[in-house]
């Protein structure tokens, strides 16, 4: 299933949807759309080999958590198509990127725009922190560091079964502060899990501010290489660089693409909020109005009418 639009257009569309949603809701994960727009657009629009969605375009309400008494339970992975041997799988490891991921599903025609209106509403499956039943999600990744390990286990199992499909993990750089990330890389390298791919949004941001001011993590690329991964570092807003990076030879090793990004790319006014960009809630109506005009101009759309 291929989208007819260019990946650049999809990335712009993701940012516009997140912008409009955040303006209407007096805040949102704006910065994540700035940094990760191209990565998710590239994955869904070009790189991932996914089948047609198996779930309705308008997400169903929350239908209960997994339990022996909930036989109708399903995950949100159906928006990425069926879990068939040939197809790729994707985990969104930082589940707070869910708003950006949902916008991506809409932009590539896998979810109806109405889906975003259910975001963070009681009784909805379109949860603020993506749960495993949320559109596009397959496992819980609400605590950071879990995603790559789960991806490694799934990729190992798929390789063992001879499935050609790849397992992808979209990661965030803050996750390298978690020890589990390093455990995952060393296990993937040791077991030769080379059908495991990760692309990491290296935006140098975390809840408390810039990573360098919270917990310096040093040279991530060298660290990943030393733990046994093949690692390529690129400009995370350069789609052609992604196309090249994924071709990197990595036999017997997982491939990790470090996408260096600007957390206020294409929404320049967000720099005013630096270094607190994790979740942008407007401090005043005046700020909201000013950001509305500025970001709309950056994205080439009309300001959002959020008055009603």
């Amino acid at each position: 299933m291929r989208n007819e639009r260019t990946t650049e257009e999809v990335a712009l569309g993701i940012r516009r949807r997140v912008f409009e949603h955040s303006m209407r809701n007096n805040g949102g994960y704006l910065s994540q759309a700035c940094s990760a727009g191209e990565q998710l657009a590239w994955l869904y629009n070009e790189e991932l080999n996914l089948g047609a969605p198996t779930l309705p375009m308008i997400p169903k309400p929350f239908e209960g958590v997994p339990s022996p008494s909930n036989p109708d339970y399903h995950t949100g992975a159906g928006y990425n198509g069926p879990a068939a041997p040939d197809f790729d799988r994707l985990f969104i490891a930082p589940a707070h990127y869910a708003l950006v991921a949902y916008a991506t599903l809409i932009e590539v025609g896998r979810m109806a725009p109405e889906g975003l209106e259910m975001f963070n509403k009681d009784g909805s499956s379109v949860e603020m922190i993506g749960a495993e039943h949320s559109p596009g999600m397959e496992v819980h990744n609400g605590t950071l560091g879990i995603g790559l390990s789960t991806g490694a286990g799934l990729a190992y199992g798929r390789k063992r079964r001879g499935e050609p499909g790849r397992t992808w993990v979209f990661m965030s750089d803050g996750e390298v502060q978690e020890g589990q990330t390093w455990e995952a890389v060393q296990s993937a390298a040791y077991h030769g899990i080379d059908n495991l791919y990760a692309i990491m949004d290296v935006n140098d941001q975390q809840c408390d501010g810039a990573m360098s001011s919270v917990m310096e993590v040093g040279d991530i690329k060298t660290k990943f290489q030393n733990f046994g991964a093949t690692c390529v570092e690129i400009d995370g807003h350069d789609i052609s660089a992604m196309r090249d990076a994924v071709k990197e030879s990595h036999e017997g090793r997982p491939l990790i693409i470090l996408a260096r990004t600007n957390p206020f790319n294409s929404m320049s006014i967000l720099e005013e909020r630096f270094p607190r960009l994790h979740y942008v809630r407007f401090k005043s109506e005046e700020e909201r109005a000013r950001m509305n005009v500025s970001i709309a101009a950056d994205l080439g759309v009309e300001p959002v009418d959020y008055s009603h």
């Binding site: 997994p66 495993e132 819980h140 605590t143 789960t150 799934l154 190992y156 199992g157 063992r160 060393q186």
Partner: protein
């Protein structure tokens, strides 16, 4: 004389898992300590070393479950839940992955002290939705634990005995049932794990003292057959006493207490086990005596329950098997 079985898990796991392509043996650097070294050597294609990295191992096993495998994780119980609790929840318990968590060295069955002793794991696991809990009390139960665990559609927590293990029973674990080891009508004794053998040691002395004991052994702690327990409680005159290799909070003592309270049963209950304390390192008999988990502790508890002194001493109890801290079957003893 009780038959002693050497390394029952080693043979049982290999017999069960070898040749079953959907079962993988995972280990975290305690392969021989968990008796799967022979399996590793003879079936390397089904063995996966994940190193001393339990957080990754839990989520990795969750990923394997997602790929349709049924991983059996082997490490000391305490290392399986204390550090990687979040991963256990998110990657295994919540999504009901068919991961079989084989936790060795339950409670004080190790001289390793606090860091090696899983004394509150049942309490933790009982509070986890979707989790099944099994505990082995003898060699026959160890021999049948793999099949019992693998019959569960979801994650399973198993307390597994290793090394030299007595054979007390001649029938395998039947998930969801309990063993009625004697059917007296004065006192109901409920035990699990290594404490069942202790209760059996006390039975003949108590019988000589004129006390009729109904003794239940629990190998399935969750799900639990409350109605069966209540029927047994209804069959005894004086009350109930529990004995477990675990803290009394949240273990089988709590399980019995909750069952009685929910049903409005007004009989007395005495819960024996670790009483709001960590243990230290030492041999199993020493620790069982020191912390009141042995046959004599049970007798004293029953005296308290019945307000009688039977004059039973250590000499009146059936002999305990003497287990070396260091032996050929478990060189390091940890």
């Amino acid at each position: 004389m009780v038959e002693m079985v050497s390394r029952p898990y080693a043979k049982a796991f290999e017999a069960f898992a070898a040749g079953n392509p959907d079962i993988l043996c995972l280990s975290a650097d305690l392969t021989s300590s968990c008796e799967v070294d022979g399996f590793r050597d003879r079936h390397p294609d089904q063995f996966l070393s994940l190193g001393m990295a339990e957080q990754n191992m839990m989520s990795f096993a969750g990923g394997l479950g997602l790929a349709g495998y049924r991983p059996f994780i082997h490490t000391f119980g305490v290392f399986m839940y204390r550090r990687p609790y979040d991963q256990l929840m998110a990657s295994i318990a919540y999504p009901r992955r068919k991961v079989r968590l084989m936790g060795f060295l339950p409670g004080i069955t190790t001289p390793g002290g606090m860091t090696h002793q899983s004394i509150e794991d049942i309490s933790v696991m009982r509070s986890i939705p979707n989790m099944t809990i099994l505990e082995t009390g003898d060699a026959t139960e160890v021999e049948s634990i793999c099949e019992a665990a693998d019959s569960i559609d979801g994650p399973v927590w198993c307390r597994v005995l290793r090394g030299s293990v007595p054979r007390l029973f001649d029938t395998p674990i039947k998930v969801g049932e309990m063993r009625e080891l004697s059917s007296g009508d004065d006192i109901l004794v409920v035990t699990s794990g290594i404490c069942t053998e202790e209760a059996m040691r006390a039975r003949s002395a108590l019988a000589k003292a004129g006390l009729s004991i109904r003794h239940l052994h629990l190998h399935t702690i969750k799900p639990f057959d409350s109605k069966a327990l209540l029927d047994h409680i209804g069959s005894v005159k004086h009350g109930v006493i529990t004995l477990e290799n675990h803290v009394t909070e949240g273990g089988i003592g709590s399980l019995v207490a909750e069952t009685m309270a929910d049903a409005g049963v007004g009989k007395r209950l005495i819960r024996l086990g670790l009483k709001d304390t960590y243990a230290h390192g030492g041999s199993r008999p020493y620790l069982m005596r020191y912390y009141g988990l042995d046959a004599l502790a049970l007798v004293r508890g029953i005296e308290d329950l019945t307000k009688q002194n039977f004059g039973i001493t250590e000499d009146d109890l059936d002999s305990a098997r003497v287990e070396d801290v260091h032996s050929l079957v478990k060189a390091e003893a940890l």
